[in-house]
Symmetry: C2
Subunit: 212 residues, 2 copies
DNA sequence: ATGATTGGATAGCAGTACTATCCAAGTCAA
DNA sequence: TTGACTTGGATAGTACTGCTATCCAATCAT
């Protein structure tokens, strides 16, 4: 198939596909003459993945490139891809090393993870993400202690185990890697959306004027 | 206090504060002469809120403006602010009305909400958010049925009720509104961060090479 | 042979969130 | 009083991201 057909079938403009090729998100088609290249089903599949990461996961193009590089590196295993994706997901919080409030928040996060006995890379960006949120909450006058996190921890444990359990052991490598990406990026969106819906429901029941 | 002190205490450059004033996120200081204006504790508090929404919630400036307009409108109640915030959180999915796959995904979402008996605005953006994620999952070959959502629904219900329950009835209006914002924006980040940490832990236990 | 299409390169554009400069009016230390 | 400095306010410029638009020569279909 040529690029125009790839464009039609993927729903992306030709120019955008060319852009993704330039950016290293999509391999070039196999050249068949100077003005002809052939694209296959793998290209279409890749474009679907890119769209999911861009439009649903809202990942920047540069992050998707890093993920795809890991995806194509045969030496990268499931858990490695996990780390790459988590790191690419960002945001990358610039930790102000000197702020004592920051250090306290970060220490709380580390203590929580230790207490739970979790195996989490000390450099995992989610640690800073959580610490920054603590800092903001406290700055706004909403103190957070470890006890307040109980419901979140419980929910996170349940979901994390469920999701990891869904990744079957026997599947071929490429499929397993795709599954891992889907788990980290798309299931996070599922969780966010359902959380918002549940919040709205709870709020409507408690504060809503009339049952509508 | 003058703008330079406000800058120091908030940690934001003077130019950025001026920008926020221009954009309607922060009220002007009370004028005290042609080249002098006085800022108070309310300004500092507001800047803290803005920083939390920008840096932690990653909300665009335009969305923060809409939230703050609702915050300052005395006719807006708790549940109204909830809707405004949810809408401002975005993303605003442009629904392709003709795509049958889209319609199926959206119908699934609506059916789920009906079945759960949730009170959710039919125009709530989280419905489209969830539908779009379904669509992407299915497009990548990961079929999602309502049964697969059980763990997410359970987690969302638990968190939604916990969070709404934390908003005490008797608190003064401004405090209650702040609490609502914090619940919808910052607690979502707490959930995301803990989910990622729990995923990494589960992945390390299942796929990690050595217990590190 | 001729008009359309292609791959590939380069340049341009729109949106966002700042950041820098400028200016006249006012303040304050000497 | 004078002269360096600060302030509020306005305007213009910048950096980054994610596309789009245009161009060109080669080449394919008819």
């Amino acid at each position: 198939m040529r690029i125009s057909e790839l464009s039609e079938r993927s729903g992306l403009p030709v120019q955008t596909i060319k852009y993704y090729i330039r950016e290293g998100l999509l391999p070039r088609g196999t050249a068949a003459g100077a003005t002809r290249a052939e694209y296959g089903a793998a290209h279409l599949e890749r474009l679907r993945l890119i769209r999911a990461l861009r439009e649903v996961g809202d990942l920047p193009v540069a992050a998707i490139r890093r993920i795809i590089e890991a995806l194509e590196d045969p030496s990268v295993g499931l858990h490695d891809l996990f780390g790459t994706t988590q790191y690419a997901l960002g945001p990358h919080v610039a930790a102000p090393g000197d702020d004592p409030d920051w250090r306290a928040a970060r220490a709380d996060v580390d203590a929580l993870i230790t207490e739970l006995g979790w195996r989490v890379d000390p450099k995992a960006p989610a640690r800073d993400l959580l610490a920054r949120t603590f800092l903001a909450l406290r700055g706004l006058g909403f103190p957070v202690g470890l006890a307040d996190l109980r419901p979140y921890v419980d929910a996170a444990v349940a979901l994390g185990e469920h999701e990891t359990g869904m990744l079957a052991e026997g599947t071929p490598r490429e499929q397993a890697l795709h599954g891992m990406l889907v788990t980290t990026v798309l299931h996070e969106q599922v969780m966010i959306a359902l959380h918002r819906l549940a919040q709205e429901n709870a709020s409507a029941r408690r504060f809503g004027s009339s049952p509508g």
